[in-house]
């Protein structure tokens, strides 16, 4: 697994991953975090511009962003913690609460709506035995309704962590969940870390 990331793309790494370390303590003061911070900072005339990339980085490591993380990012960039809180709550992709290992976002916007997204969503919720936003009992799944994912020709579109599943129908849901469960169990599936930087599409 290559850690050598070009600074030009250091701030544009996937940040919704299944493999999550849950490091205790600061992330940005040493090692990879520090390196990433410096790379990102080198690309902008103002340190504030590194805010979104660094929030993303924290989420990619932990799976979600809690107030102590916002504080750390604020400190690293010389920003007010409250400001970071304001920005983090503006954007919907920052998880302010923990989510399941497989974060399933079902697009229900117009094109998907016309193609049965409502049933897909209902089926996901039913099969995972959760309500929207909840982490399933096993910790594996969180399912939410999402706004347009920008792949309307492939309705219904479902985002699972950092990848898209296209043309999903309610009937396919059990199979999808089974695959996700199996991938976690066998550990054979390429981890998100390994897929980082790859350009290949998932099936």
């Amino acid at each position: 697994m290559s850690r050598s990331i070009h600074p030009a793309v250091a701030g544009a790494q996937p940040f919704q991953l299944a493999v999550r370390e849950r490091p205790d303590g600061p992330l940005l003061q040493t090692g990879e975090g520090k390196e990433r911070l410096e790379m990102v900072l080198s690309r902008y005339p103002s340190p504030r511009a590194a805010l979104l990339p660094m929030l993303g980085y924290v989420q990619s490591r932990k799976g979600w962003i809690e107030p102590s993380d916002m504080n750390e990012v604020a400190e690293a960039l010389g920003l007010a913690p409250a400001f970071v809180h304001s920005v983090a709550t503006f954007y919907t992709m920052y998880n302010k609460r923990p989510v399941g290992r497989h974060f399933i976002q079902v697009c229900t916007n117009i094109s998907c709506h016309l193609n049965g997204a409502g049933e897909v969503l209902a089926r996901f919720l039913e099969e995972t035995e959760t309500r929207q936003g909840e982490v399933s009992a096993t910790g594996e799944f969180t399912v939410i309704e999402a706004e347009c994912l920008g792949a309307c020709g492939f309705a219904t579109v479902v985002q699972v962590n950092d990848r898209y599943l296209e043309c999903v129908t309610a009937e396919k849901v059990p199979e999808i969940l089974k695959e996700l469960r199996d991938s976690a169990r066998s550990g054979a599936a390429a981890s998100d870390e390994a897929r980082r930087g790859s350009g290949e599409r998932s099936p």
């Binding site: 544009a12 790494q13 920052y94 916007n109 020709g153 309705a155």
Partner: protein, 443 residues
């Protein structure tokens, strides 16, 4: 499954020619296909000359507003010691649109080439490509292309062997439709909430980081290398005088063959829907089409003979927008569809302007009530009036974006709304039986 349908009309696949061909993704392959030739050519031109070609081509911005690209570039100040920036708007999030995603994931180098040529034209020293956060996979493709281009000297100091330097940075959004509005994008790129600002200041005076900035859509920039390589006249062989060129069409909804297609501007909308896309998958009649992404006005099924130019769709009472027809067949519940569209805009309102913050969510709740069968006829009047109050009063056009589909839905499908109205005991329709019974009881 990734690119299910090739265009049926092989008129002019300029932009999308290499979509679906994996070799175009990598730099070696791209160079074999003639990649970066246009950049080399542009490096031999002055910024003014590049801009002149783009102006002469009549290329209009593909992000939705259709503003002439060359003219936009010419707003950038000449001279001065401030750095200039180019922002590539890859925050594709208009419901219905998925064309930029296709450009990025199949032909990332085409986009980079366009970015670099545009950067040269506006004398930008840095290009920021703002990609919507959900596009992780597309970003990975783009990232690899950027790194390749750096390694081979197309980006960085001495672009393509010249003495001109330009950097490119990929920036990932985090879930905010409004970051696709140009001032919202610049605010977001600077690390703020993606709140649009009231112009002035205009981006060319004071844009991202307070410096002169141009914001262009992915498809616009991807069109530029072709213009430079072949010239403005070449481009003008397609389309109309006011809408020259070709355009990617993101077709979705109840279609037999949804997907992206490239057409010359001006092809009848009917041909796109019934030709390339094969009509509805159910075989039912088309009830409605939103031709330019969810923020444009509905066309009824019998209004599809219009030409797909900026002016043609305007005459038809809608607009080209992002050229993303959402097709609805006869089974469609227009009230529910409209409610879903409105819900999106309520969810994405940044919350600055009162009309948008309160108006969009109020519209949603009225529509939900009508959908649930609890509406009253006066709700339609209220919705019409809200359309009036939400038009042209706010910093950006997000509030207007819900008005276009809403007003046209009320105009064209009023019966669908009225059919959902509450059946009241004393309302004329239900009165006969009900009141008669009461009258009998009273006697």
């Amino acid at each position: 499954m990734s690119y299910p349908h090739r265009s049926d009309l092989e008129t002019s696949t300029r932009l999308s020619r290499y979509q679906g061909r994996p070799e175009a993704r990598a730099l070696d392959g791209w160079e074999r296909l003639g990649g970066y030739e246009a950049l080399r050519k542009a490096c031999g031109m002055s910024p003014g000359e590049i801009t002149d070609v783009v102006k002469a081509s009549g290329l209009r911005g593909r992000g939705g507003a259709g503003f002439p690209t060359g003219l936009k570039w010419s707003f950038m100040p000449e001279g001065g010691d401030k750095p200039h920036y180019l922002c590539c708007n890859a925050d594709e999030s208009e419901p219905g649109a998925f064309k930029d995603r296709e450009v990025i994931r199949w032909t990332p180098h085409l986009l980079l080439e366009g970015c670099l040529i545009a950067a040269r034209a506006i004398r930008a020293e840095h290009v920021y490509i703002y990609v919507r956060g959900e596009f992780f996979e597309e970003t990975k493709v783009l990232n690899r292309a950027v790194v390749e281009a750096y390694e081979r000297g197309y980006i960085g100091p001495n672009v393509a062997g010249t003495d001109w330097s330009c950097d490119v940075t990929v920036h990932l959004g985090a879930g905010a439709y409004i970051a696709g509005e140009e001032t919202g994008l610049m605010n977001s790129l600077s690390g703020n909430r993606a709140e649009p600002w009231a112009k002035p200041p205009f981006p060319a005076q004071s844009g991202v980081f307070g410096m002169p900035t141009t914001v262009n859509n992915v498809e616009t920039l991807a069109t530029v290398p072709g213009l430079i390589a072949h010239g403005a006249e070449w481009y003008r062989q397609w389309g109309s005088d006011k809408s020259p060129g070709t355009k990617l069409w993101s077709c979705s909804g109840h279609l037999a063959r949804p997907g992206n297609y490239e057409f010359e501007l001006g092809v009848p909308l009917r041909d796109i829907i019934f030709g390339a896309c094969g009509g509805t998958h159910s075989g039912k009649a088309v009830k409605a089409v939103i031709p330019g992404g969810s923020s444009t006005a509905f066309l009824a099924g019998d209004e599809l003979d219009c030409a797909t130019t900026y002016e043609g769709l305007q005459e038809a009472g809608s607009s080209l927008g992002t050229a993303s027809p959402i097709v609805m067949d006869a089974s469609t519940d227009i009230v529910a569809a409209m409610r879903r569209i409105a819900q999106f805009y309520a969810h994405e309102s940044c919350g600055q302007c009162v009309q948008c913050r309160e108006g969009t969510s109020w519209v949603v709740r009225i529509l939900q009530r009508i959908e649930a069968g609890d509406g009253a006829p006066r709700d339609i009047d209220t919705l019409y009036d809200l359309c009036e109050q939400m038009t042209g009063r706010t910093i950006c056009v997000l509030a207007d974006s819900v008005v276009f589909p809403l007003r046209s839905a009320l105009d064209k499908f009023r019966a669908d709304f009225e059919a959902r109205m509450k059946q009241r005991l004393f309302a004329p329709a239900a009165a006969a039986g009900g009141s008669a019974r009461l009258a009998t009881a009273g006697v």
